[in-house]
């Protein structure tokens, strides 16, 4: 076992001991503890837990890599995944906290006085959460197999075991305090390499400022200016310009924002604070903790891209010779072993010609130099994980990144598993099938549901249905088109009734599901080619949740207009959630 691997085992092992210790210390004793941590979580602690809950393997591992290769177009993730918190803080969190019960489907069931609405909401919730959790378990598997060099199954089983201990034992209470620890691990792991790399490239220790600074050793060459030049020399579009249509950029951004505000595992975090005013503040703390990573990510992306290009093209980019394959650095070899980095010597000269061969305007230049196609395939997912190695940072930084990736994936997985288990035990079993169940019986049912959900998630992580990447669009689109409008209308309108809400949710759900299926073909072959010419209003499947949401609103308003108004006690419920006074502790049904 080499030095790096030993270090990784020590760092990852230490974090696991920490998580289990917290779980034992914060065991859940009542359903209130299990579902909403007894509503006693400090707003700052809840903000940290929300940040860890929200930032998944996708944020930690994939996002900076996406931005590195998309440039300006990557902004949809940055704005989309942070702007949703404004919607949460202004439109949802304080009112749902005042309402004060345990789950999102409970609110929809009470507000729309309907068991059918509850079942529809539970179906949306379970679908959204399982698609998401499968990706997290996969992330755990990848990190384990790369850094600890165990096979993916072993990695998955260890990850499942850890989540099992603290989610099943501790419920929301255990998860909350573990997530606080996981946040600290992941943010430290993310920012340390970013600070090092920012200092190397620009001399500025703050990556957010480094990205806007000049390159070290030059007087007037800004980093972004240099990046724009080198990528264009290789036939790519300028880094700071976009290539997507404006309407699609706007639609994806809005779908991600609204989807964020409609994700049940995020909403439920605001049920855990003691007061309505805490719920508002806590959303701000959550975004502050998230913004630490999200404002660093664009710097990580841009700097990693520049480092990668400068490694492959040590001289004048595209003018001199690129790196010879025989002289490739150590990190290149390790990542080649995982298949996430791949070199094919198309023109047989032993040099790594990395450029954009999909650009027809650049083809004559490439042909004149004897290049016969791009020879380097770089998986976007490795940019964050390989970044410290590319920048030649010390081994302990690399070990830290492994622990951070695992923390990000485990914290999100645990939050998702908890909302799945509470939807099953509280909304389905307690409220539909066995209304006379005791608190202890419900707690046991919740624990069993969490255990079953972990097994299903582990199975999905090991045998990813070929579509894990595609289903991310699903989770956000469905949350935006189904749950978000139903909750918003439930708070801001006294006129939307049972019939309207159910019809609206089903319309949004079926439309969005159908559109994604039509172009992405999950379970079936796609019906139409997924290209801009075929899209409705030029909106891609990633952004279609916005149209689904508008349809949901329109259908709900129309149907409600022609059916009976909600009963008087529902109007009283709405009036009551609109004022903060009177938000007590946990209430049972």
């Amino acid at each position: 076992m080499d030095n790096l691997q030993l270090l990784t085992y020590i760092v990852v092992g230490f974090t696991f001991v920490l998580y289990i210790g917290i779980a034992v210390w914060s065991r859940a004793h009542t359903t209130g503890d299990f579902y909403v941590a007894g509503k006693g979580v400090h707003p700052i602690a809840n903000g940290m837990a929300t940040a860890a809950d929200w930032m998944s393997a996708a944020s930690f591992i994939s996002m900076a890599g996406l931005i590195a290769f998309l440039g300006y177009d990557g902004s949809v993730y940055l704005m989309g995944w942070t702007g949703g918190y404004v919607l949460l803080a202004l439109l949802l969190a304080p009112y749902l906290r005042k309402y004060g019960k345990f789950t999102v489907p409970s609110f929809i069931a009470d507000r729309y006085y309907s068991k059918t609405a509850r079942v529809v909401a539970v179906i949306c919730l379970i679908f959204i959460s399982f698609t998401y959790v499968a990706g997290q378990m996969r992330g755990v598997g990848i990190v384990f197999s790369r850094f600890l060099e165990v096979d993916i199954l072993t990695g998955l089983l260890v990850g499942m075991g850890i989540v099992f201990i603290y989610a099943v034992l501790g419920g929301m209470k255990g998860i909350t305090y573990t997530q606080v620890a996981q946040y600290c691990v992941l943010i430290f792991a993310y920012t340390v390499p970013a600070v090092f790399i920012s200092i190397q490239l620009t001399g500025n220790p703050f990556p957010q400022l480094g990205l806007g600074s000049t390159v070290s050793g030059t007087e007037s060459m800004y980093l972004l200016e240099k990046l724009d030049l080198v990528v264009q020399d290789l036939g790519f579009g300028a880094y700071t310009d976009g290539s997507k249509a404006m309407i699609d950029v706007a639609a994806i951004t809005l779908a991600l924002m609204v989807g964020t505000a409609g994700l049940p595992h995020v909403i439920v975090r605001f049920f855990t604070v003691p007061k309505v005013s805490d719920a508002r503040k806590s959303a701000g703390w959550a975004l502050l903790f998230i913004a630490l990573l999200y404002t660093t990510a664009p710097a990580v992306g841009a700097m990693a891209r520049l480092n990668l290009i400068e490694t492959i093209w040590p001289g004048e980019v595209a003018e001199s010779q690129p790196l010879a394959y025989e002289e490739r650095p150590e990190w290149f070899r390790t990542w080649e072993n995982t298949g996430l980095l791949d070199f094919t010597d198309k023109n047989g000269d032993g040099m790594i010609q990395y450029y954009n061969d999909a650009n027809p305007d650049f083809r004559p230049t490439a042909e004149a130099k004897g290049w016969e196609g791009n020879e380097l395939m770089v998986d976007r997912d490795i940019m964050v994980l390989a970044n410290p190695e590319i920048a030649r940072l010390p081994n302990w930084v690399i070990a830290l990144v492994a622990a951070g990736g695992i923390a990000a994936a485990l914290s999100t997985a645990a939050g998702l598993l908890l909302v799945i288990s509470s939807a099953v035990s509280h909304d389905l079993v307690k409220n539909i099938f066995a209304p006379n169940m005791s608190d202890r019986g419900e707690l046991l049912t919740g624990r069993i549901a969490a255990a079953v959900a972990i097994c299903v998630a582990g199975y999905l992580g090991y045998n990813p249905p070929g579509f894990v990447a595609q289903v991310v669009a699903f989770a956000f689109g469905l949350a935006a088109a189904s749950l978000f409008p139903a909750i918003i209308m439930g708070i801001f309108s006294t006129r939307i009734n049972r019939e309207g809400a159910i019809a609206g949710m089903l319309t949004g759900l079926i439309f969005t599901f159908g559109y994604i299926l039509y172009f992405k073909g999950i379970f079936i072959t796609p019906i139409a080619e997924n290209v801009p010419e075929n899209w409705l209003f030029g909106i891609s499947p990633e952004g279609i949740g916005v149209v689904g949401m508008l349809l949901n609103f329109a259908v709900a308003f129309t149907v409600s207009r022609f059916t009976a108004a909600p009963p008087v006690h529902i109007r009283e419920l709405i009036e009551d959630i609109r004022v903060p006074r009177g938000a007590g502790g946990a209430q049972a049904h």
């Binding site: 508002r280 404002t295 006294t494 004022v579 006074r581």
Partner: protein, 98 residues
């Protein structure tokens, strides 16, 4: 609500008026924040990004900065402003928590 206010006693209707005044003030603050939210992200970060890129903030083209940094900082300020302003409003209308 106006539909049933005719059957209410003067006391109840005064209570209702106070609630309506609070709710309307809340909505005004909320819409103000949402306008800023929209203008900064969809306005500066997307629709106007290209013309704004002609201006620079250090090494950042301005539109690019709004899309990848500025909008996030604005969101943060907006939420803390809203939380502070609403706490004040809760007290002004005497609906704050004990």
């Amino acid at each position: 609500m106006s539909q049933h206010s005719s059957q209410q006693s003067p006391q109840q209707s005064e209570h209702q008026d106070r609630r309506d005044a609070y709710w309307n003030a809340n909505k005004r603050i909320m819409f103000g924040c949402l306008i800023v939210w929209f203008v900064v992200s969809f306005g500066f970060g997307i629709v106007l990004a290209e013309p704004l890129d002609n201006f620079h903030l250090f090494g950042y083209p301005l539109g690019f900065w709004f899309a990848q940094q500025g909008s996030i900082y604005t969101f943060l300020i907006l939420i803390f402003f809203y939380a502070w302003r609403m706490n004040k409003l809760d007290r002004e209308h005497d609906v704050h928590e004990e």
